[in-house]
Symmetry: C2
Subunit: 231 residues, 2 copies
């Protein structure tokens, strides 16, 4: 099983006081947040919580890959996000979860009880700022996906997806896809057939190589970026 490195770029405009804005350092030193969490192991394919379950906690991925998804009554599915080590999920203030969270690979997650989090944030302003930061980061990410889902073509969606996965991959030009074609399709608002066909097309054009269905090698990153529609 591959290990993904969390993308934790320090953000200069963070809501944290300047000297404390380096999240990586903070993670190492073990801040207030770390004291509150409970480590929970999850089997591959298992559900951490379902859509509609009472939301009692926030979570963070320690290792493994997960997905959060939502269903329409007739079974159509939308994957909200793929989650890698370092990612938070379950961030909601509604009474119940509006997405389900499921483990794609075997995983470990850290569980932060919401009442405890609320109480701790009330007396620790740095923790409160941190929670806000995490939430704002998620919001920014989701915003980008609106444009992708609403306005991009299949080819643009898939190249954007690959570049995104590449950013989170330890390797510079190879991606180990932990998720199935179905997951990718439901993430991008496409069908598995279109995902597969678009992969094949990119392969034939020499932009990527596909040693196996799960293993993607980027051959021409520039071309990929051009195809993503973002520039």
């Amino acid at each position: 099983m591959q290990i993904y490195v969390a993308a934790t770029s320090p953000d200069s405009s963070s809501f944290l006081a300047r000297g404390a804005s380096d999240r990586i350092a903070q993670d190492r030193e073990g801040d207030a947040l770390e004291m509150l969490g409970t480590v929970v192991p999850v089997r591959a394919g298992a559900e951490i919580y379902g859509e509609g379950d009472t939301a009692t906690a926030w979570y963070r991925v320690q290792c493994g890959v997960l997905r959060t998804c939502k269903l329409l009554p007739d079974g159509r599915r939308q994957i909200e996000d793929f989650l890698f080590p370092g990612d938070f999920f379950g961030l909601e203030n509604r009474g119940e979860h509006s997405f389900a969270a499921e483990a794609i690979t075997a995983a470990t997650v850290v569980r932060y009880s919401r009442p405890r989090l609320t109480a701790a944030a009330a007396s620790n302003s740095r923790l409160a700022a941190r929670l806000l930061d995490v939430t704002l980061e998620q919001l920014g990410k989701v915003h980008d996906r609106l444009l992708l889902l609403g306005r991009k073509t299949a080819e643009e969606k898939l190249t954007t997806f690959l570049l995104e996965m590449l950013d989170r991959s330890p390797d510079g030009d190879a991606i180990d896809l932990a998720m199935s074609r179905t997951d990718i399709a439901d993430y991008l608002g496409l069908t598995i057939e279109t995902v597969s066909r678009t992969f094949s097309m990119m392969k034939h054009e020499g932009v990527i190589a596909l040693p196996s269905a799960q293993h993607v090698v980027i051959l021409d990153r520039d071309a990929l970026e051009e195809m993503s529609g973002d520039e």
Copy 2:
């Protein structure tokens, strides 16, 4: 010009301490947030900030209707949200705004300088909790739109949109659309032609009436809800 009433349903699972969770009452009494804001009038069509502008403040709509939108280099546009009185916008922690904010009608917005907000939140835990709540609410709203953009049909998108507008309308069964067909199309990931055709179809089926392009009367709410795909 029509006046919209902000949808401010108290949320029992708020991050605010229980006795203070009624946002409506809070707004009336004038909390810490109110002290920090500057009222800014905006002309119809004017831009409050552009995509890529340095993000220096958060905002809240006092009156009028605005939109936040994002462009692809080739001109394709995605509207992130329509904003009505009471709505917050500009909530970001990246250095620059990832969406532009524009006034659809003449409007007044309240501007909250970010450095001042950060400082105030650091010493006022109730304000910090409030900011987190506002952000989480936005996150929840955007999540619902992912499913709409990724998996719903044109008809489902438009009925969902109408029900959404109806919820925010002062009237029980009539909607005054402040935005153009182009705006609606860019909000739902469709073209103006498809929006127009779908409206016509719904009119012919007797689900809605269209006394004018801007005025929609809901004739059969149940049918509309059934058509939205959500149940």
